[in-house]
Assembly symmetry: C2
DNA sequence: CACTTTAGCTTACAACTGTTCGCTCATTCT
DNA sequence: AGAATGAGCGAACAGTTGTAAGCTAAAGTG
């Protein structure tokens, strides 16, 4: 096996070990280098051959999580073309992601308000991708000035994110309620924004 | 000095020490019993005379933070009576709280998605007080069915909370933008909800 | 083939952590 | 006055943590 190949392999082992140790009651901050190394099957000191410290690993995890989110968006767009309902499809896709990759979502959720400014920034950037894309969509579909389209997109993303957070602590039989509640909230936003738009324009 | 009086005093010293050690880059989870005891001016072992463990202290902190929030709401109501604008006054009061007691707000913000189910529950309960009160107000002022009033109130509280979270990482010259953005978002919600109400009723 | 590079290892250390135990001694109770 | 209570203390323990130093052996390079 090639040398670089092997290195990449244990690098992934470290990343996977870290992800697998995240859970409802274990945040990234409470992971220990030694435990991660143990699960990755390497000596603690070998960790440093791949990451300068735990923070660097953490930023890598956030990046990967962001990647998964963007894949999710692409998937959602495909579904929308077949299904039609933009809001419902988007939220349902997101909720599936949250419940299916709860550890990944929890990472973003927590580090968004965590103790590391670098982490907070990284998460904020990932979320901004969502917002920017949604804002662009709103600008096309509606007659909304740029600045307001962004504010609207931000509100929507916040509400959807929060619904995901609620789902983490809710029993599965409440998922339907959470999604329909969020759909209602987003509809209010779009109607309200459209109304204000008319108010100011016409 | 009475015995109970003295006990209460060092209990407060512990609580204050804990609050003072919370900061942008130190969460409750990363506090150590020994450090808190040190700042409170007691031996590590004396801590146990007041709290069974750090979790008990943490729940106490969340309770206190919730108390401050409720005082804040009362204060906001008084301001509204004099000022008139409900939404603007509420948000401005909240933003003042966030910037003036950032450690307290950070505690709620983080433990809302933290690693302890008990903490998450405690924070959720505190926030529900906000939501319930706001929902009741909406039921009186508007012609909104109960269920929808609650969903509307929840959306509003989430957006305001999030604006506070943004403020923590934003330079002070952006506070005005954050508040006005949030005002716009809440107006959209109320208009949208009113519109949908009419749509379903009339 | 000899030479360099480097992922991974073992050992070791110093700095913490939470918690138990037994003691002191001022306040409180009888 | 005498006994009981209980807040606070110091010493000690077992566990964990991150990380430095130096070695081994296999892969890559000329």
């Amino acid at each position: 096996m090639s040398r670089a190949e092997q290195k990449e392999r244990t690098r992934r082992a470290i990343i996977n070990a870290a992800f697998s140790q995240l859970s409802a009651d274990k945040s990234f901050a409470s992971l220990s280098l030694r435990e991660v190394a143990r699960e990755a099957g390497i000596a603690p000191t070998s960790f440093y051959r791949h990451f300068a410290d735990m923070d660097e690993l953490g930023l890598t995890l956030v990046d990967e999580a962001g990647l998964m989110l963007r894949q999710l968006m692409r998937q959602a767009r495909q579904r929308i073309e077949k299904n039609g309902s933009v809001i419902r499809t988007s939220i349902e896709t997101f909720m599936e992601f949250v419940t299916g990759n709860s550890n990944v979502f929890r990472l973003l959720l927590r580090e968004r308000s965590g103790t590391s400014a670098a982490f907070r920034g990284a998460v904020a950037r990932e979320i901004q991708h969502f917002v920017a894309e949604l804002a662009e969509y709103l600008r096309k579909e509606t007659t909304c000035p740029d600045e307001l389209a962004r504010a609207q997109a931000e509100a929507m993303v916040i509400l959807v994110f929060h619904a995901g957070a609620d789902a983490l602590d809710a029993p599965p039989e409440q998922y339907n309620y959470l999604t329909s509640r969020t759909i209602t909230q987003l509809r209010w936003l779009t109607h309200g924004a459209a109304g204000s738009g008319r108010k100011f324009k016409t």
